[in-house]
Structure formats: structure tokens, C-alpha cells
Amino acid sequence: MTKSELIGSLAEKQPQLDQRDVELAVKGLLERMSAALEAGERIEVRGFGSFSLHERPSRIGRNPKTGNSVQVPDRRVPHFKPGKELRERVDL
């Protein structure tokens, strides 16, 4: 399912909103969530799961072509942990 398919099925279930509003709402939610992570904030959605940030410390990497070592700076990456309900619904 893509973002536009998600917008389509939400619009079907919310006939009082027009498609344009549904599109703005979906984009608004994703932007709000992205902004929270960008600001270093966690996201917790009961049943669905939580998003947090994992710190990757800086390390010595290697250029695989030349074999030179390079310092890879520390990084922060988004991480998603599915909630109990989602895990149970997806599992066989």
C-alpha cells in the first residue's frame, strides 16, 4: 500500500471529508511525526508501536576500494518497535 492508496482508503471511510482534506491530514500527520523525531523526541502510539532514535557511535570505517581507513562520524537513526497488538495481528 502506498501513501496515495492509504489516502484513498481513508477518504472512503471518512466520506464527510473530501479527498483533499484527507491528503492534507495524512501529510500533516507524517510531517508532525518526522518533526518530532528530528527534534529528538520519541513517538508512542498504543497498539501500533513506538519510534525512537538510536545513537550509532563514530567508528573507523574502510573504503572498500582503496582499503584506506576513514573516520565515520556518529549518527542518529530512527528505529521502530511494533506494539503488541500490531505484532499479534501480523504474526501467523
Binding site: 500500500m1 482534506d21 492534507l24 511525526m33 520519541r42
Partner: protein, 99 residues
Amino acid sequence: MALTKADLADSLFAELGLNKREAKEFVELFFEQICQSLGNGEAVKLSGFGHFGVRHKNSRPGRNPKTGEEIPIAERRVVTFRASHKLKERVDAHARSRG
């Protein structure tokens, strides 16, 4: 403080003028729709945000790390998430700018 469904509903109320009840219902439906798709084994790709996938894991022998006892782990299906490049960049660039 973590961002919650209530915060998301507030932002739909403030930015899009949905009334509070509609906003709350919309947020519920948004996550329900994603859960439903994943529950059907179908991936959800939200461009600019990330990709929720469903992975099939075969059964494998496991072990209780405390007792060392062998216990089989049944085959199962799990959700994976890969953040989009755009989201990864936003999250990381911000961290870097703060030093």
C-alpha cells in the same frame, strides 16, 4: 516527552481545522489502516517517511539464555521499518547541527 495520538489529533485540529472528535477519529483510523494492511501481509510505503514491511521468519532452535534449555522458536511473521532517506537525513542533520 513522547509524541502521542492525542498530540497528533491536536495538530490536525490546529492546522486543518478538523473538529476534535474528527481529528481523534482520523488519527485512530490512520494507524488502524496501516495495521490492517500489515496484518494482511501487505507492506506500507509512505514516501518521504519510510517503509513498513512484513518479513517471514522460519522456525529455528532457540535457547533460554538463563537456563540454557533448548526451546524451538516457531515460524512467525514480523514487521520491519526502514526510514526513508529523507527522514534519516532530517534526523541526523539535526543531531549534527547541535554538535
